[in-house]
């Protein structure tokens, strides 16, 4: 860092130095600009500190800003020299020009050097009472900066108390910044609090009914960003009674018409929070009715904003499926939408699918299935299956569309369609057997494990109806050891099913597959299952029948992808990252790898019952997940070799692409570490055990998450089974 202290005699820094000390004003200024340019690209110009500092005293505001910019970057590395700047700062903070005063106080807060902080108190004190609102609003934020650096100084000097007074300022922007600063301080205090040193009382920002009044008044006059800060605050406020909630809702309602999308979403957040306490049906109806149009408008904004809005709409629909009932067409994908927007729109369309619009949706989905983006095509086909499962009356048409798609003979289309057909068979067991020949005809097309496994499952399930079932399965038995594990598992189960249904024709295959699986296979899962079948078959054929041919519970389409308690929490976070990821904040921000500290603190802290409940749930889920950890690791690790490198990116992808079932699980971080959603679902489903035959087809398939893929064997036979050992 200090290499250049020894003043080199040549090179760029040498030239800059001589220019900085030039007698000509223009030359000096030009040199400062070059220094800033070097700083931006990452060259070390810290050695020029004293020379740049000399140019601080100037009438030229632009030059002053540049010097300040330089100081902000290097103050930390040259703490002893910063002192030289203090005089100018203090003088500037007293300048007749309010812009200069504000600039000085803004910069001083950013210097982050211990030494200068002590000189900050006096000018800050003065600026907080400045007659000019521009200076006051800048000073407000400076208090937050000070608190971030040296909390005790901000508290001892009474700055925080002063901020609280400034909430009543006559100027709306000052009010907004005071609120912003107080919120920031509150957050910092909570974050830094530990067991031994709890957050200082003064830093707590409690919104009293008096403050509420000020907020509501300032709301109408504030700048757009100020409005977001105020609305966020309103969402935190706990109304004393229903009447107050009503009042807040009525006052916030006009904000739906604001041109800034983040204001609209912040207003939606306030509504969702305070609507919980409303009992007047007509008012709730009115709010919901007024909420829909601005949400739809957000869908035609810039793609990034649009995506944030779509993720939030997805969340809102889980709580209130009726909001956008008649608006499905808005979510039709445009050919040139970016992929992340398309996938999200698809998801929302499924949520909005009803009997009356399913035909339009199906023809739309069919259209998407012919696009270029493979990911999107697959999701579209999956969506057709979800339609069929959600709306029973449409299942026939969905199957028809799938058949048409299979006939295109495009490899990935066929494979995905086969996977989807399996789900439809699960839901409507004996309705569409006529399709099976077409599926079997495409056997050779399949090269993806999931598609293969699906088709094998179908063959096993309907073995009695397929004449050449043993022949078809025989192919897979022959290549048994070359297949992926999930295909092996399915082959094993399907052959055993075939044996139960048509013992005479399958004798040979079944003994061959059992022998290969137990002797030559290197997956313990496959081996274990083979042993179980073997023993079952040899000890008690009737018990074997009860276990292997048991009727599976039908699958349904999950209405929500997040548990109710989390959903409520996320609705209070509309517009934020948490609502975009559909995950509580502590799963992705937090100091520890596992956000357990944060959760713990929440229990300790003041917050309400819901959070306590959630936290407890989290801990329980955490313990469960921990037990599971040992054993899912192997499976997930093999199937998703993305490994550690893709860790956190996977969080993003999965939330963009698939609906990941999230739970209040502090181990979510860890879960995504293994690239599999199976860990994140311990609250929904019992452990995916290797001995529940069809279930093991699912656990490592995150994309199948929306269909509730619990273990298909009812728990009763599973217990029986354990009793057998």
């Amino acid at each position: 860092m200090n290499l250049s202290r020894a003043a080199p005699k040549k090179g760029e820094n040498f030239e800059l130095r001589s220019d900085l000390n030039s007698e000509y004003r223009d030359r000096r200024k030009d040199a400062i600009k070059r220094v800033i340019a070097n700083m931006t690209v990452g060259k070390d110009v810290s050695g020029l500190f004293p020379d740049v500092l000399k140019n601080m005293q100037t009438d030229d505001l632009e030059q002053k800003k540049l010097v300040y910019l330089y100081l902000m970057n290097y103050a930390k590395t040259q703490p002893e020299l910063v002192i030289l700047a203090v005089n100018t700062f203090v003088k500037d903070a007293d300048d007749p020009n309010p812009l200069v005063r504000a600039l000085a106080i803004r910069t001083m807060g950013m210097l982050r050097a211990e030494k200068i902080i002590d000189y900050l108190s006096d000018p800050l004190q003065k600026c907080l009472r400045d007659e000019n609102p521009y200076v006051r609003k800048t000073a407000c934020l400076c208090v937050a900066k000070l608190y971030d650096l040296k909390p005790e100084l901000a508290i001892d000097n009474g700055f925080i108390g002063q901020l609280q007074e400034m909430v009543s300022d006559s100027n709306p922007m000052v009010v907004a910044n005071a609120i912003t600063a107080l919120t920031d301080i509150h957050a910092t205090a909570v974050l830094n609090a530990t067991e031994s040193s709890p957050a200082p009382l003064q830093a707590n920002f409690i919104i009293t009914p008096q403050v509420l009044g000020k907020l509501l008044i300032a709301l109408g006059e504030s700048s757009e960003w100020g409005r977001v800060a105020l609305l966020t605050c309103l969402a935190r406020y706990k109304a004393v009674d229903e009447k107050e909630s009503e009042h807040i809702c009525e006052r916030v309602l006009p904000q739906f018409q604001h041109v800034n999308g983040s204001v609209v979403l912040a207003a939606v957040k306030v509504m969702m929070v305070h609507m919980r306490h409303l009992t007047r049906e007509d008012l709730v109806k009115q709010i919901i009715k007024k909420m829909a149009p601005p949400l739809v408008t957000l869908v035609s904004s810039a793609p990034e904003t649009q995506w944030v809005a779509l993720r939030n709409i997805n969340l809102l629909l889980q709580k209130r499926p009726d909001i956008l009932q008649n608006e499905m067409r808005v979510f039709f994908c445009k050919y040139n939408d970016p992929p992340y927007v398309k996938l999200e729109k698809l998801d929302i369309m499924i949520r909005l699918a009803q009997e009356k619009n399913v035909d339009t949706l199906l023809s739309e989905l069919k259209e998407y299935a012919s696009e270029v983006d493979v990911d999107f095509v697959r999701r579209a086909i999956k969506a057709i299956g979800q339609c069929a499962i959600k709306i029973e009356s449409s299942a026939g048409r969905c199957v028809q569309v799938l058949l048409e798609l299979i006939n295109t003979r495009v490899s990935y289309v066929v494979q995905e369609a086969v996977v989807v057909m399996k789900d439809i068979f699960r839901k409507y067991p004996h309705n569409y057997e006529g399709v099976i020949p077409t599926l079997c005809a495409n056997l050779d097309e399949l090269d993806e494990p999931e598609a293969k496994a699906s088709l094998i499952w179908i063959i096993g399930e309907y073995a009695e109806k397929i004449d050449n079932a043993s022949e078809l399965l025989g192919v897979f038995v022959d290549s048994f050891l070359e297949e992926a594990y999930q295909v092996q598992l399915q082959t094993l189960t399907a052959v055993v099913k075939l044996y139960m249904k048509k013992p005479e024709s399958a004798q040979g295959v079944v003994s061959k597959v059992l022998e290969t699986a137990t002797k030559d296979c290197d997956s313990p899962d496959v081996r274990d299952r083979a042993y179980i079948y073997w023993r079952l078959l040899s000890t008690d054929p009737n018990a074997a029948k009860a276990v292997i041919l048991a009727t599976r519970p039908p699958i349904t389409l999950a209405q929500t992808t997040v548990p109710p308690v989390i959903l409520e929490e996320l609705l209070g976070e509309i517009g934020t990252l948490a609502s975009v990821y559909h995950k509580p904040a502590e799963t992705f921000v937090g100091r520890g790898r596992v956000g357990a500290d944060a959760v713990h603190r929440k229990i300790e802290g003041q917050e309400d019952e819901a959070i306590r409940e959630k936290a407890l749930q989290t801990l329980v889920a955490g313990q469960q997940a921990e037990n599971l950890l040992d054993f899912d690791e192997a499976v997930a690790g093999e199937d998703q070799p993305t490994g550690l490198a893709a860790t956190t990116a996977a969080v993003v992808q999965s939330s963009a692409g698939h609906k990941v079932l999230t739970s209040a699980n502090p181990l979510d971080d860890l879960a995504s570490l293994f690239g599999s959603s199976s860990l994140a679902t311990p609250t929904q489903a019992p452990a995916p055990s290797p001995m529940s035959p069809p279930a093991s087809m699912f656990p490592s398939v995150p994309s199948a998450a929306p269909l509730s893929n619990g273990p298909a064997v009812p728990s009763k036979p599973q217990e029986d089974l354990l009793g057998l050992f």
Partner: protein, 428 residues
Amino acid sequence: MISGFFIFNQKGEVLISRLYRTDLKRSVADVFRVQVVSNTDVRSPIITLGSTSFFHVRVANVYVLAVTKCNTNAALVFEFIYRFISIAKSYFGKLDEEAVKNNFVMIYELIDEILDFGYPQNSEIETLKHYITSESVRSETALRDDSKIAAQTTGSTSWRRTGIRYKKNEAFVDVVEVVHLLMSASGTVLRADVTGQVLMRAYLTGMPECKFGLNDKVVLQNARRAEGETYEAGTVELEDAQFHQCVRLNMFDTDRSITFIPPDGEFELMRYRAESSVHLPLRIQPIVTEVGKTHVDYTIAVKANFNTKLSATEVVIRIPTPLNTTQVDCKSPAGKAKYVPAENLIRWQIPRIQGGSEVTLSATASLTQTTDRKPWQRPPIDVDFQVLMFTASGLLVRYLKVYEKSGYNSVKWVRYLTKANGSYQIRF
């Protein structure tokens, strides 16, 4: 809150870097370079690594990036990035690598003004232009102005300074509508709606109080009820309306009246959306047949479906061709049609189509043999156009009243424009 703000070029070099909070190191720039710039398959505009989140928007040949470390308001961050982009465009005419490099000092000045400690501050373009200017040396006389600006920036009408004078008081209103159309191959309209903007250029003296009236169905219905008269056609039903911050939202909420004190100069007064009875200015009827595996025949008819006195201009119709097209033979009586191999489409450009008239293009594309058995995907036909003095939604400005203490007369001008830009799609 935003911890850091960066601009990168396409190679991933840092053009602008500004840290607002201490929780971040300058080296995050490298992480972004690896994760986004050099990654060809970016599937999300937000990327979270550990607890650091990267929000990026790509404009021309630069990336604008905001980095945060907490559970930030994502909607606000993107709104802010887009605001920065529009400020930059307004200041420098464009936002690309060249503009950033030439104006980096000004950009630092701007982002320091509009973002403090990671919280967005005043970002009204017109106000910023008063005190962040390229002229550098400031005389003492500027001092008084600065005080005034500073007071105004934070006031309840932060968008307008006092003491504005014009010899001639004028206000220009532009209604610009973008038509979104999605038509299925069978000719049914899947989606047709209009997003409109009311742009205003106000050159008015003092603190004028403006009242703006549209043929809004709700307003006119209320008026009819009040006056007991029947008001028949000519109204438009707005699904939604959004206003510039100068409009009093409370007033709109109670009686749908649009009242405001306008900023000086150009601004977007209102944005709206209309879905019912959208009048589609151009009807496209494509007949595309694949003749065996060697040819595709096109007959594309375009009918201008509006008043004969008006005309559509700058019409560009993009008709996709199969990927294995070798050449295309185009015949059209109007405009120029040309095959663009790089984009796999026929680009048919028609400078002007008179209302009520119809033009037809016939073309034949020859294909080479291919082993690819995947059928042609047929992306939609895409149409760009402009029609002046026409609104697809039927929206009309009924009045713009200006009241000012001094009681001057003002002149108002209204223009209408309907256009489509990549949003008018016809499947075939």
